[in-house]
Amino acid sequence: MARLLSTQATALLLLIFCVGSSMGSVYFSDLKQNLIVTASPKPGQVLYAGEDKITVTWKLNSSLPASTDAAYKKVKVKLCYAPVSQKDRGWRKTEDNLEKDKTCQFKITTQPYAGSGSFEYTIDRSVPTATYFVRAYVVDASDTELAYGQTTDAKKTTNLFDVVGITGRHASLDIAAGCFSAFSVVALLFFFVVEKRKAKK
């Protein structure tokens, strides 16, 4: 009887666990930092979006047992905001629940996991001016994060680099803005003059 109950209990627990892990969200604090990630920018280096490149390298921490990465299927490398760029900006907030986390908003690359790898990334033109670090998540077959690695420390204060984003401005826009503004004002003056002339008549 007790055996039946304990089997049922285990089955139930397993069921809850399976359902939980497929429905529930992953929490960053549950992840282990099993990867070692390095990126080419030196601490405090300034890079330009659309022009400069970042080379990211990642590998599994060699001091871990060999079976640690059995479930690792893909590596997702992301560009993440440093705390100084998150301050007073709620849309970049760090949340423990990875579904709600907004720290890492730019995808550098997604690759099949092969123990180690590297990628040369040209900083996308939509990356804004801010301070960043690089983080890599390893995910399983169902895209659930299992572990991570990052170029900075736990407090995200060391080894950060800056990116200067594009302004989006063009000379043609400047000229158009000037012309249309001038046209509007001149049109008004034109009608004023016409009014005055009509009134004189």
Partner: protein
């Protein structure tokens, strides 16, 4: 000249021998339209209506063009939450003084030139939003663009000059409501234009939003030119022409100013308007973020919810104006005052409830109901404003309008800046403030019509009230003739019970001098 028996709604066909004017709509003795045919474009009355609401709509589109694109703009310019909040306050604070100036300008040079000048002179701010590069230039762009909201005053002034007392509430309500619609429409227009430019044309994010700003800019330029080219100040002509012909007295700023600031009703309406329109502006600035943060909807859905608040204006503000006119038919000015107090107070109650709603569906439902009542209150307010003064109508419209913006600035500063109150608590407290600031409606009193709690004085007349704004000397030289005509036509504000027939007596038929 024929003197016909006048029907009760003052429909008089004007057959001025001197300039042979035939209006396409029925008019009263001031040649103001006594009907409001929304789908007509007949000059000058209905044409003025369409020019007025559309140009005001364009100003609203421009002023609130940035908020829906903020997710892109804030990254391009490196904005912080504080920067965004400050710019939001700046966008509505510029119009405080602009509305007062606009009011005076309307009194002195007429609504057509005043609004066209404002609209065309603020377009550079809209175009230059495409070339800004920092938090401070963002704030300046929104600040100067916000000045264009003062076109509200010229819009209301123009409607009050073109439409007769029984219809002025509806005309004001529809014009302002359809104008305010711009605040909701822009939340749909700007993201659409942005996506078109970003996806179809392929510009990068940070360029696409800049190009998108040319759309509100061009709309505004076109509207401004249309107003000055096609519009007309008064049913009989433009200010300059009428002043030259001696048909209109050219007034002085100091007199207009004096009679506006010494009228207690103007100040009370400025306060109450701050707590209907001011609340509407505040909600325009904070509601998308509120739904995004509290109920976890995505940004696009938050934008659509925000848009629906502003879009309710298409019928709710006009409904307020129409309701004011309806109450006035039966109960006169007292009806208009009670209507305002009841509708706005109920809006305050709904606001408190909105802050307390915990589920998304409930919050959206309450918000929609709240939007109807708050916007209807705006319409009801401008059913009353045209009667407060004739001489200083422009400046008083400006004071009321400016009061609306002051309310928005104050409310955002007290309840939605920093982290003293959570947004939901701020919304609930804003509701309490609406209730408190609507109470002074009880203090508005017209000797000839009464107030909410007190009846009219036995021998007070409309003529006395409006002529009192002119000195004896001015009256002797006949400067106040326009006010007298208005006084005659405003007798309808006594309601049905006191004056069974609102016909104009035969001996005061507009003679064709």
């Amino acid at each position: 000249m024929e003197e016909q028996k006048k029907p009760s709604s003052l429909q008089i066909e004007s057959v001025a021998a001197s300039d042979n004017k035939h209006f396409k709509v029925p008019v009263d003795s001031e040649h103001k339209a006594t009907v409001f045919w929304i789908f007509s474009f007949a000059a000058p009355h209905m044409r003025a209506f369409h020019l007025s609401w559309f140009s005001f709509f364009c100003c609203f589109v421009s002023t609130f063009a940035a908020p829906p694109l903020l997710p892109v703009i804030r990254d391009n310019l490196g904005l912080t939450r504080t920067d965004i909040g400050n710019a939001g306050i700046a966008s509505v604070s510029g119009a405080v003084f602009a509305r007062l100036t606009m009011g005076t300008a309307c009194d002195l040079v007429g609504p057509r030139l005043a609004s066209a000048s404002l609209i065309l002179l603020t377009t550079p701010a809209v175009y230059c939003t495409s070339i800004i590069n920092s938090a401070s230039t963002y704030l300046l762009a929104r600040f100067f663009t916000g000045f264009s909201l003062a076109s509200f005053v010229s819009c209301q002034f123009w409607m009050s000059s073109m439409f007769s007392a029984p219809k002025v509430g509806s005309a004001n309500g529809v014009a302002a409501g359809w104008g305010n619609l711009g605040g909701g429409a822009t939340q749909l227009i700007m993201p659409l234009v942005y996506e078109l430019i970003h996806n179809a044309i392929g510009s990068t994010k940070f360029t696409a939003w800049r190009i998108a700003f040319f759309v509100p800019g061009l709309m505004q330029t076109a509207a401004g030119i249309a107003v000055v080219a096609l519009g007309q100040d008064l049913p009989d002509g433009n200010y300059q022409k009428l002043e030259k012909a001696g048909d209109k007295h050219k007034d002085s700023f100091s007199k207009v100013f004096y009679h506006a600031v010494t009228n207690h009703r103007a100040w009370i309406l400025a306060l109450t308007y701050g707590y209907c329109f001011g609340v509407e502006l505040t909600i325009d600035n904070i509601i998308a973020e509120y739904f995004y943060d509290r109920f976890d909807v995505n940004l696009r859905n938050a934008g659509m919810i925000a848009a629906s608040f502003g879009l309710a204006n298409i019928f709710s503000r006009p409904a307020g104006g129409w309701f004011s006119d309806l109450l006035s038919k039966r109960y006169g000015m007292r009806g208009r005052l009670w209507g305002l107090w009841l509708v706005q107070s109920f809006g305050g109650v709904l606001c408190i409830i909105l802050g307390l709603m915990d589920s998304l569906a409930a919050a959206i439902s309450v918000m929609l109901l709240f939007s109807v009542f708050v916007q209807a209150s705006c319409g009801l307010s401008f059913g009353i404003v045209p009667f407060v003064s004739r001489r200083s109508l422009g400046l008083i419209s400006g004071m009321t309008g400016g009061g609306g913006n002051v309310g928005a600035v104050l409310t955002q500063l007290i309840f939605f800046q920093g982290s003293r109150y959570s947004t939901q608590k701020g919304i609930a407290l804003m509701g309490v403030m609406i209730l408190a600031c609507t109470l002074p409606t009880m203090l508005i009193y017209f000797p000839q019509w009464g107030g909410m709690l007190v009846g009219p004085r036995p021998n007070a007349t409309e003529e006395d009230y409006y002529a009192a704004e002119w000195s004896q000397k001015e009256r002797d030289s006949g400067c106040h003739s326009a006010s007298l005509k208005f006084a005659e036509n405003s007798v309808s504000e006594r309601g049905k019970r006191r004056d069974p027939s609102t016909t104009v007596p035969v001996d005061t038929t507009p003679s064709h001098v």
